[in-house]
Symmetry: D2
Subunit: 409 residues, 4 copies
Amino acid sequence: MSTGVWLVGARGNVATTAMIGARAIAHGATSTDGMVTERPPLTNLDLPTVESLVFGGHDIQAGSVVDTAERLHEHNGVPGRDALDAVREDLAAIDDRIVTGTARNCGRTVADLADDAAFDDETLSLRDLTDRIRDDYAAFRESEDLDRIVVVNVASSEPMPTDPGQYDSIEAIEAALDADDPDDPLPASALYAYAALSEGHPFVNFTPNAANALGGIRDLAERESVPHMGRDGKTGETLLKSALAPMFAGRNLRVVSWEGHNILGNRDGEVLEDEDNEAGKLQSKGGVLDGILDYDTHNRVRIDYTPALGDWKTAWDDIRFQGFLDTQMKVQFTWEGSDSALAAPLVLDLVRLLAHADAQDEGGLQPHLASFFKDPLGVDEHDLSRQFDRLYEYADRHAAEKGGAGDGS
Amino acid sequence: MSTGVWLVGARGNVATTAMIGARAIAHGATSTDGMVTERPPLTNLDLPTVESLVFGGHDIQAGSVVDTAERLHEHNGVPGRDALDAVREDLAAIDDRIVTGTARNCGRTVADLADDAAFDDETLSLRDLTDRIRDDYAAFRESEDLDRIVVVNVASSEPMPTDPGQYDSIEAIEAALDADDPDDPLPASALYAYAALSEGHPFVNFTPNAANALGGIRDLAERESVPHMGRDGKTGETLLKSALAPMFAGRNLRVVSWEGHNILGNRDGEVLEDEDNEAGKLQSKGGVLDGILDYDTHNRVRIDYTPALGDWKTAWDDIRFQGFLDTQMKVQFTWEGSDSALAAPLVLDLVRLLAHADAQDEGGLQPHLASFFKDPLGVDEHDLSRQFDRLYEYADRHAAEKGGAGDGS
Amino acid sequence: MSTGVWLVGARGNVATTAMIGARAIAHGATSTDGMVTERPPLTNLDLPTVESLVFGGHDIQAGSVVDTAERLHEHNGVPGRDALDAVREDLAAIDDRIVTGTARNCGRTVADLADDAAFDDETLSLRDLTDRIRDDYAAFRESEDLDRIVVVNVASSEPMPTDPGQYDSIEAIEAALDADDPDDPLPASALYAYAALSEGHPFVNFTPNAANALGGIRDLAERESVPHMGRDGKTGETLLKSALAPMFAGRNLRVVSWEGHNILGNRDGEVLEDEDNEAGKLQSKGGVLDGILDYDTHNRVRIDYTPALGDWKTAWDDIRFQGFLDTQMKVQFTWEGSDSALAAPLVLDLVRLLAHADAQDEGGLQPHLASFFKDPLGVDEHDLSRQFDRLYEYADRHAAEKGGAGDGS
Amino acid sequence: MSTGVWLVGARGNVATTAMIGARAIAHGATSTDGMVTERPPLTNLDLPTVESLVFGGHDIQAGSVVDTAERLHEHNGVPGRDALDAVREDLAAIDDRIVTGTARNCGRTVADLADDAAFDDETLSLRDLTDRIRDDYAAFRESEDLDRIVVVNVASSEPMPTDPGQYDSIEAIEAALDADDPDDPLPASALYAYAALSEGHPFVNFTPNAANALGGIRDLAERESVPHMGRDGKTGETLLKSALAPMFAGRNLRVVSWEGHNILGNRDGEVLEDEDNEAGKLQSKGGVLDGILDYDTHNRVRIDYTPALGDWKTAWDDIRFQGFLDTQMKVQFTWEGSDSALAAPLVLDLVRLLAHADAQDEGGLQPHLASFFKDPLGVDEHDLSRQFDRLYEYADRHAAEKGGAGDGS
């Protein structure tokens, strides 16, 4: 069973790092550290192997995956030289399978970063554009002779639609595709999602973009019984929040202020300098605390662009809480991680797990994958350990079904 | 149903803060923040009220609980003036119910801090000493006309016995009490535990001391069917560890080094300057990581005495982990809490929950209380969220039994 | 020689804390820690004693200094109970000498915080308003029979004038007072400064406000030969910057990014939420780094309002620098201080030192006081140690003149 | 004028990094960031160029400088690949000029790390050993046809002599060389220093070792009029201390506790695990604070070995201070630097500056170089800015003498 991975934003840092890692693992040039599907009990599932994944995708930037990889190595040290050397040829081959995507309705800042070719589609209607994307998916599947493809959106943050509620039905989505209203348009992420789900391709929204968070797109996936999940990969500060906040809740320690200051130097940071694009991100980050604490609290998240950091992100969080005898205490943490090295393995995990769900005919949202997302669609549980437990239960159940392989067997 | 709380180390910071808090709550002078039993689903259990708890205890220091309370207010700001004013008279009344404890086998450093009166028992055999402690418990219960007393050890850290394995049976404990060997003696904590459990009093070991961690003492509790639990209250750095480490494990992020540096200025810090007394503490702190990660890692815990900090403890932890493409990343946190304000509410929680277990005839270890301890006796699970879940299941089960009251009702 | 201290913003946190401290020192209820003039070589100067200072001032808030003091004690623990009890009566007496100030041209946010009485002056022309302020100064001096008064601006941050350069001469200031143009008005701080300097009262601008930073006001002080200095007291993050940045410069370690994130919960934080008011503050904070490093670098300062912190300010700074072999390294620090406890002693220091300058007929700017300010008027040196050295040289010179008393004698 | 650099510990991290950097600069493969002598006003001095320096040295390890360089690149990323590639051949050539040193009296831990060849000298008397070292110096100078050599000790930390005071005269040193007492021997560092200074070679002690800190060795340098300086390069936590502590002193903020916790993973960390070797290091680190504050304070420095960090050192410092109204406040910082990248440029700076002093016939200690050392011999000033000022005065004076070149000319 061969599985294709179609990456929207394929020349971006996350996609490139995912491809480097997958191929470096295939060549034995790195460990599988960081991949959730490479430790028990997930290893008990029948998943496509990392080595067998075939990559392709859309992008609106010129250049090549190899360029991105070289730049990541140069500026961030990730990947290291050995991993890069091991996969350079593979990356060049993948780059031949990357086609021009669309910058339609991604906001001015994203458009500024796009290659001229990305605007060739300006004369197309939304409907035609969606058809073109659908054809791109089909061509990839056919030319690579794949049993299945999983589409993953790892593109830049878009501005949120002004009224997402208007897209709460399949009909509304279809109407918007036909109306093609330039003043309140469907964003690109929704086009990619629509094209994938209407054709039966599992879809992952790793960004804070609207995409499959829109009610009409979710209904479409339900109707077509295609597995999909999102949104916004939980990789850093929010991951820590979802691990720490349950401690305060469980101990009845009242959080009176949670300040988060993120600085990062990659394109993600640059795009988020634009307040329109930042809004969605802040929204998905903010929800975690509300989901764990049963009261409102002062909860601010700052994201600032600091070029010197490259692809490394530093988060500083200052948490004040009130305990016994109304005593005010605090925790402060700094988190320093390579944004792409944190996100990339989750992309591979999600592809493998969605391929599994698809093979099992488990369509619609995948709540057992909540731990991967800042804003897990259809799931209220934000406690990381409980989210993990749901994933492990899924793995154990399927392992048992397939013949009783226990943990680690 | 009236419940007595017998505190071993009753004039210490933790005991004093627990009594201040309980009485301040009774007088409406503070919130119940920090108490696990004051939030759902624990509020569904039939627990003795905080207001009704009656306090007494042993101590080896001169002075009074009021002195300790004044000193805590002065140097640490906890309790605040209003809470202190509200409870001063209550504390003075409690102090009349505090009798001289024993410094037998607590190590040189603890002995140096003890009042002369604590050495009046030097002529007593271990057996006689244990009988005297038993009489103290009985006198408290009788004079205060209590239905039940719960004994809680919140005394200073003792040196560990050189070979705890030698006390692995009730017989060995009895023999040691009779032999009274000055060269390898039972420590004071074991005497308090033995006296409590042999008389049917529930027992909590909030310290890293041997006490009910000895096999023979555990067997005694089992035989007598008395509920007990320990050891070493999980209040600060280790609490955070048990919340954070599952995140690394679940994401397959390999922890390559976890350095912890604790500085504190109270008597606890002073006693732990003595390496003999520190050993047990470090052991109970170290186990958490091993219990969550399935591999060995560099894991050092430092505890240093910094007088300027008073009862406030600062922990600095530096955690390095390896992720995708073998990328090294890190988290650093500082935790700043009032040691006593963190520990005291848990003491009240444990008293209430052990009284409940006793009323339900649930003898022996109480694994649903694992979340309260650094080294939960009889429990391998160190993931804080899962420990909480076990506690909530207990609450839900008992709430359902008593007539179906759901969460929050 | 009796010295009066006239505080503009007399019921604010900084002014109140300065008065509490001065009176607590007078009553022997606290140490002189934090006062630069209370350590050698400053102790060699003939300064008015702290005990002898007489306080009065303007404010636009209702309430009293005692209210502010109680609130500071309650929410921040500074002052402590003992100091507060020692000075409560003194504060009440001082409050009788506080008169209503003006909110003219302080920006909407400050105006919203003002008492109704502060708008009684709305019918007055700028010229009349300035005269009224001058009369207030004179009445204080007369009624308290003072040899000299020093006026200190510790009011909230105002919006900067749109074109400060237009006030670069005495004539321009006079014309603006007469023109009374509502569209581009002189801010309140300039009125207080003008009134003080034209009457010969030494003036300190402890805020980032325009005041004596305007060229015309500086010329006025020069012409009248009145000592004055400013602006913006250097109390926290910027103080640290001016101590640390010379280390990077001296070692040829290239600062590639200096991110600062300040969170604070007092009125200062609330006022700075308004971007108009924040602009001046950020400007005076930003200049320090430029003044020490001889190249441009990424240098951002964030100030956020976090109510839970009260008067305590936390700064988190993240500094990246490049060293040998182009190696990127970093320093991160957190600074946690009571804003008022840091600022207040400097107010007293400056009053004493300006009184000294006035007694010595040293009019105009006081460059030896540069260490006290974020943006020291007329001084390019931002290296804190060198600024201190200039202060010590002043002290040594004057001590030598007065009869050769050496350091510490 | 050709200058040779003789490094004791030539295959260690610091020496190797210094040589890589010097040669990379020569090849235009890196910047001169981190070198004090490469910025004004030091650039006004007539110093030997970095490019012209010729390297040789002693070591007790087997292997080669190229091995060390490869390992540093692999584990720490410093040097980067480009710099390493540019200098690999140069390093191999230098390695031919490295001869076997002595492990005499360096302590057990250092001896354990030494190559067998380092013990061939066991049969030699101290006097003979010193002569052999002297011959090594001479051979280097001759074979490379050098005008001058500067000897720099960058070897591992030795245990301190039990009574350094016994070596307070030249006679005592000579007697010790003759007596060769195995129970209380002169350490290796003293032999290297004696051999250098008695032959007229300028000497730098970049370690905390005894060497030229012994009175007799200092007298020798004085008598022979040879420039020398030490000890213990000020590169990280202590550098920050000497920049920050003057801030507290100058502001009369009373430091009540300064806790420092250093973790590092290189050989330096490994050697300092041995308490004997650690003692000298802690002593030189501790003195800085005492030298700046005029009172005693709680001041602890911890150094722990954390293998995962490689050559990167992380220091965490927690500083509590008391200010106005006896308010307790704090600063905490983390410093993360490459130990070798911080030390290496200073080695080159010191070589150039000692060569300059030698050319100017300025023998004895060099107090203008105090800023380079944790424990600057013969200097009480620990304020970093003032130490820099002394260096700049030296540069300005010499620049003026040589013909009035001003800053930057």
